[in-house]
């Protein structure tokens, strides 16, 4: 079964799937998200571009396969909530929101500028479609617990997705939230952990005990899956399974991703948590990405 084909149902748009019926594949969405992110990175000449390239496939699945939302009404009550706990991944989420039609592509050139709606670290008050202010790491799971409880109070069938990272697992508050979500049996909460083994001072695995992550979440009472986060079909299947699972428990999709995925010379750059990229390298990166997508040599 392949999920690379878009969902098509004649009335799906009314149910909050605005791109249902589109003939753009998830693979192309991911490519375009990466391209938007690279163009934003070029504006500043530096940034969390490796994380954006790494998480692009997960975001493509989120915004073009899993989430219900209305691009012209970001506060629509029936929407699935998508929380970006890792505020510095904002460049990636902006790219997805642009591709989703929530933000105009023309704002790419304002990324990180004064008065821009696209600050370097994501904040709810600045950007349509940004549900929470992230960046002080370790907040996304706890807030998701509260929102999931709040949705249950309203007998809403919406899901809360919350994206956090392996580095963020260092924060004790994540585990308070993990225990709380299991205690309240929040089957409307879907956690996504981006495991890319990089954080500010180096590899996450060299900084704090992380594994076995799958077993840990399972032991904490979560419905647990671990997938290659750069395998679009696998991510889509995992999200589908997370939503469909008939267990009264929160769900986690642990996504192993490759930093800077899709731009080989950045993938292999050591310590790529915060990349400084030479001016001429941005176009090289975009050319490589274009070539990889089209299957032609650059």
């Amino acid at each position: 079964m392949s999920f690379s084909k878009p969902v098509s149902s004649p009335d799906a748009r009314d149910d909050g799937f605005p791109h249902a019926g589109s003939n753009v594949s998830l693979r192309e969405r991911a490519y375009r998200i990466r391209r938007h992110a690279l163009r934003m990175g070029e504006v500043q000449g530096q940034g969390y571009i490796a994380q954006a390239l790494g998480i692009a496939d997960v975001l493509a699945v989120s915004y073009f396969h899993a989430l219900r939302y209305r691009p012209d009404d970001v506060r629509w009550e029936g929407r699935d909530r998508f929380l970006l706990s890792i505020g510095h991944y904002a460049i990636a989420l902006y790219a997805a929101l642009i591709e989703a039609g929530i933000l105009p592509e023309s704002e790419i050139e304002t990324y990180g500028a004064d008065e821009s709606r696209l600050p370097m670290s994501g904040m709810a008050a600045y950007t349509p479609g940004m549900e929470i202010t992230g960046g002080s790491l370790g907040h996304g799971v706890g807030i998701a617990v509260g929102m999931a409880l709040g949705l249950k109070r309203k007998t809403s069938d919406a899901f809360v997705y919350t994206l956090f990272s392996d580095g963020e697992l260092n924060e004790g508050s994540i585990w308070e939230g993990v225990m709380g979500a299991a205690h309240w049996r929040l089957d409307n909460l879907i956690g996504i952990v981006d495991v890319n083994d990089q954080q500010a001072d180096g590899p996450s695995s060299a900084m704090s005990s992380r594994e076995p992550l799958h077993e840990r979440f399972r032991a904490f009472g979560w419905h647990t899956q671990r997938v290659d986060g750069n395998d679009i079909d696998a991510v889509a299947a995992a999200f589908d399974a997370a939503r469909a699972a008939k267990v009264a428990a929160p769900r986690i999709v642990i996504c192993d991703t490759r930093m800077a995925k899709g731009v080989p010379f950045l993938e292999t750059r050591e310590r790529n948590h915060f990349l400084r990229v030479e001016p001429e390298e941005w176009q090289q990166a975009i050319d490589l990405l274009d070539a990889s997508f089209s299957g032609k040599a650059p």
Partner: protein, 334 residues
């Protein structure tokens, strides 16, 4: 019980624990004014929910939990989750009242209150027991600097009620305010005093409780109760003490405070159940200086130190916030 004859006449003062009342023997009290007010309010405000971190019983939230069990969330001993979950519930339209001890809110959960609640101006009411020096357990439970910590947080309204009468009125008032609030809580059997003065609470307004020509005491929280008692003592010495109660510490009603402080000739004293660093005293001092008002000025408050464990009457007297200690200090300054 038998004790040595020489000690028999002395009352035995025990360590004032978490459930200790600050009421003096024989003082009129009302039980659990916050918990009862919240239950009453919840009858007409279905969006109200209550959350705590293993301290419902010690913050009077157990009354709400019993009355509205489906609206009560026990989050366990996890203050970071407590605050971020409250933020999430507020995002989904609930009106969370969150309780814990002031030390844990101010010290342990600060980032979560700041970024998940205050930065987004979410409608969360944080109500904390054991403010200032109201526990004999020592620094782990004595939130002597909570106001100093929270005053620097934008968007946050800070309220320090003086007694049960005021807590009962402040609870619906902070619910009616759209935005995050930190309220210091006196719990259990809470003294009743302001009803005798015909006082009504208004968020953001400082009010004159009694008048006097020699000293102006600007006070908040339980220090107002003590200041009123001290004023009675000083009255006997023909010292006239005005008490201006500023229950809302932020935003501070500087207009009322400056008008009172600007009346020439009176010693101005700020009294608070809080360290002299960063609380009401320094807020008033800065406000006066900015306005060019420079009366003789003194502070009654807790010292800039980690305080001792013990019995509250002993500690309040030692650190200067008992009525007798306040009267002593004011006499010495005149």
């Amino acid at each position: 019980m038998s004790t040595a004859p020489t000690q028999a006449a002395k009352p035995r003062l025990t360590t004032s624990a978490m459930i200790a009342s600050i009421a003096a023997p024989g003082q009129r009290t009302a039980p659990a004014p916050f918990g009862n007010a919240l239950v009453e309010l919840a009858k007409t405000r279905p969006e109200i929910v209550g959350l705590t971190a293993d301290l419902a019983k010690y913050t009077d939230l157990h009354i709400f939990a019993k009355a509205c069990p489906e609206r009560f969330y026990q989050m366990g001993m996890a203050e970071q989750l407590l605050m971020s979950a409250a933020a999430g519930l507020a995002r989904e339209g609930a009106l969370p009242f969150v309780t814990t001890y002031a030390v844990f809110a101010a010290r342990r959960a600060y980032d979560f209150i700041c970024m998940a609640i205050a930065e987004e101006r979410l409608n969360v009411k944080i109500v904390c027991a054991l403010p200032g020096l109201t526990s004999g357990y020592g620094p782990s439970h004595q939130a002597t600097e909570d106001i100093a910590i929270f005053r620097g947080m934008p968007n946050l309204t800070i309220v320090d009620p003086a007694d049960a009468h005021e807590i009962a009125q402040a609870t619906p008032a902070i619910a009616a305010h759209d935005g995050p609030v930190y309220m210091r809580l006196l719990r259990g059997n809470v003294p009743l005093i302001l009803d005798e003065y015909g006082y009504t609470f208004e968020l953001g307004t400082a009010k004159t409780i009694r008048t006097g020509n020699d000293v102006l005491v600007i006070s908040t929280g339980l220090a107002t109760m003590r200041a009123l008692q001290a004023a009675e003592m000083l009255e006997a010495d023909r010292i006239g003490v005005e008490v201006l109660h500023a229950a809302t510490i932020k935003p501070l009603d500087l207009a009322t405070i400056l008008a009172a402080a600007g009346k020439s000739g009176r010693l101005v004293v700020v009294a608070e159940n809080h360290t002299v660093v960063g609380g009401l005293g320094e807020a008033v001092a800065a406000g006066m200086l900015r306005a060019g008002i420079a009366p003789r000025f003194r502070q009654i408050g807790l010292p800039d130190a980690f305080l001792a464990a013990g019995a509250l009457p002993t500690l309040h007297d030692r650190y200067g916030i008992s009525a007798e200690a306040m009267a002593r200090q004011i006499r010495a300054w005149l």
